[in-house]
Amino acid sequence: MSAAKPVEAVAPDDESDLIRRLRANDAAAYETLVRTHGGRMLAVANRMLNNEQDAADVLQEAFLAAFRAIGAFEANSKLGTWLHRIVVNAALMRLRTRSRRPEQSIEALLPAFAADGHAADPAVDWRETSAETAQRAETRDFILASIKKLPDNYRIVLTLRDIEGLSTEEASAALDIEPNALKVRLHRARQALRTLLDERFRAGAL
């Protein structure tokens, strides 16, 4: 695969000019839009679908939908925000067409309790868990890899709610599950992710 050309981000002041050119069907403007926003949109699709080919297909569908809808874009919001919503919706549609796979078990990642209800392994404080921690490359990569380790059904819910910011209602409608079932699944996903992160943060390995 050849290296991509450097992406030149569109400065905020130039965005209104880009929109004007898109509406005028300027071919170069479409290319700028794809190069400016495509990388970030592909990352969103990859997080949601966990499959590179599906993510590439969804990205193409999302951009084509955006091209068709540019006339209706209300310039009081940023292009990036609008495109983000389009790619999330396109990824959700792809998720719905995937055949329902048997749910993978998450039990091994949930906290264990004794018969009397006490924690089998009581929690201890984590070290260095500020937002800045998550931005350090090695820590960030570890957290991202931990999210990918979650069983699909749980990873998708955590991604939609906690990463992409969909509401319970939006996420449950998109995944066609009851809001209560979604809430339970989200809680278990968070607990599982906590277990994975705890192994390193607790030990102070970072």
């Binding site: 991509a4 193409q60 009397d116 984590w126 937002a131 992160l197």
Partner: protein, 85 residues
């Protein structure tokens, strides 16, 4: 979760944490939840690290610098647009 006064176990605290966070517990249930937290540092710690998990996951995803879109994909998208898809 029962409405009657009931000494919560650590398991129940963890099970109902998402409801507690959302403000969905009845007042009596919330009171029992808070009473347990006042006596159980391990559960306080669990809840703290649970919230940290949510924040770290979001921060990691938000700060990950995306790779530039592959050139082949740029071409495919623009070609599809030209083809009027």
């Amino acid at each position: 979760m029962k409405d009657s006064v009931h000494m919560l176990t650590c398991k129940e605290v963890v099970d109902f944490l998402i409801d507690y966070d959302a403000g969905d517990l009845a007042p009596a249930q919330k009171q029992e939840f808070d009473r347990h937290l006042a006596m159980c540092p391990a559960c306080v710690c669990y809840i703290q690290t649970y919230h940290q998990t949510i924040q770290l996951g979001k921060a990691a995803c938000d700060s990950a610098k995306p790779e530039p879109i592959p050139e082949e994909l740029v071409r495919a998208i623009l070609a599809a647009r030209q083809a009027g898809k």
